[in-house]
């Protein structure tokens, strides 16, 4: 795999992700505006949609919080991939520009490049395919700071999971920039649950869960969360969430981990598939196999 090709694709991915939202997210925001009965909420959604238009016209970031960068990489992975992603992030930070968000956790020292120990965060899924697929999820802190994990008792069951999701969204209120997309990870280990909750956000809003039971649960949770009245920006209204996305994994027989990762309305994501002959295909979510 040509290193330059990967670096170039990463810069393009970040540019696509931060300057234009995926069509499914824009559609969901438009439908929410049409549906809203609260005047304050409608005005918040109008401002959001106007801002998305302005960012697209000027080719600048939709939101000043361009996040920290989570990458999902599938394909034939070697050590050079990480190096190319890191140099792509540094270049994108300068060229687009992105806000230099990465700081030391204790000294708060800012290297200015978004590249440091642990960032960007890269998750690898090695495969035997000959192409490499890279998806980026730039994650802003307003929504990320509302992340919650509960190690429920197996007896809490599905009702416990529902209660925890509702409580987490209510507790977050207006802080994660609602309307949000609610990522939920159920099962696994504690760390896997948190990771699944975020990765679940990659599934577009117009693509139902492949599991009919989980699809129904997502619908039910979304309806209940929208009955809370938190509304856009926590100023009240019918639209608190744009959708709920659930991922599951098997867990220990004595455990029921559940994690919630909220995504602000600026749900930025982009995917590139890089073929060995140098072709690159760009999209807004992981491609079908």
């Amino acid at each position: 795999m040509v290193a330059d090709l990967i670096e170039e694709a990463v810069v393009q991915l970040l540019r696509d992700a931060v300057t234009a939202l995926p069509p499914d997210v824009v559609d969901a925001l438009r439908r929410a505006e049409a549906r809203e009965t609260s005047e304050v909420a409608r005005s918040q959604l109008r401002i959001i949609l106007d801002n998305i238009d302005a960012a697209g016209r000027l080719a600048v970031p939709i939101c000043q919080d361009t996040g920290v960068h989570v990458f999902y990489v599938t394909g034939p992975v070697d050590a050079s991939v990480e190096e190319s992603i890191r140099s792509g992030v540094a270049r994108a930070t300068e060229e687009i520009p992105l806000r230099p968000n990465a700081v030391h956790p204790l000294t708060r020292e800012n290297p200015g490049t978004n590249v440091a120990v642990g960032l960007p965060h890269i998750i690898y899924y090695p495969t035997d395919e000959d192409f490499l697929e890279i998806t980026v999820l730039p994650k802003g802190a307003g929504s990320e700071n509302m992340t919650a994990l509960a190690m429920l008792a197996p007896a809490d069951g599905i009702d416990g999971v529902k209660r925890f999701v509702l409580d987490t969204v209510v507790k977050a209120g207006g802080r994660p920039c609602p309307p949000t997309i609610v990522g939920v990870g159920i099962g696994g280990t504690s760390d896997l649950a948190v990771s699944m909750a975020k990765e679940a956000l990659l599934r577009p809003l117009d693509l139902p869960n492949a599991d009919p039971g989980l699809a129904a649960l997502e619908e039910q949770l979304a309806e209940a969360l929208n009955l809370t009245g938190i509304g856009p920006m926590g100023l009240g209204g019918d639209t608190t969430v744009l959708g709920v996305r659930i991922s599951t994994a098997y867990c220990h027989t004595a455990s029921l981990p559940v994690a919630v990762n909220l995504q602000c309305w600026a749900a930025r994501r982009a995917t590139a598939r890089i073929y060995p002959d140098g072709r690159v295909r760009f999209g807004r979510s992981p491609f079908d196999p």
Binding site: V40, S43, Q44, I47, I48, D50, N51, A54, A55, L58, V60, P61, I62, C63, Q64, D65, T66, P97, L98, R99, P100, N101, R108, N110, G112, A141, G142, N145, I158, D159, K162, R163, L166, V170, G173, G174, R175, C177, D211, G213, L214, A216, L217, Q220, L221, E223, A224, L225, L227, T228, G229, I230, G231, P232, M233, G234, L235, G236, C264, W265
Partner: protein
Amino acid sequence: MILEAPLSEEVVRSLRLGQQVSVDGVVFIGRDEVHIRALERRRQGKLLPVDLEDGILYHCGPIVTRDSRGWKVIAAGPTTSARMNALEPDFIREFGIRAIIGKGGMSRPTVDAMKERGCVYLAFTGGAAVLAAQGISRVRSVEWLDLGMPEALWIVEAKGLGPLTVAIDAHGNSLYEQVEEEVKKNLPAARRRLHDMEQKSP
């Protein structure tokens, strides 16, 4: 209504909850680290590089670029004000600011300090960074750039910065607390919705 900085106590006290306004004039952009450093300087008896009295504080960490003509604000939406909850009452009392622009609202001690000193909270739509940048005509100066671009103290000139909603007034009222009360009332219905459909086992 257009609010022109610096603001008088009289104008601030006249603002009503839910009213839409925009801002003209000098705005101080500062968030977490600006609060920490400014209060530390005050405790040490040192002056700040700018006088904040009667001014407007904007909770924001902007994207700013620099070319031969100087600084240019590219994206500058509001940040989550709640992170400053512990510091804001002191900040309002020490520096005499008259308005805070932010998102998500602030807790009761800040609402009380606002009532006591004559200060309001103006909610801007989170993420509306490009519209915000269009409401900032010029960067006048930057202080404490050693804190990094998002955390530095930016002194900018606003022209039509908004639309902003008066979400905490200078009389102890908070739109966020009102919504919270509504949410409490709505919770039983939301909980019922979670249980009124027998969940098929996934």
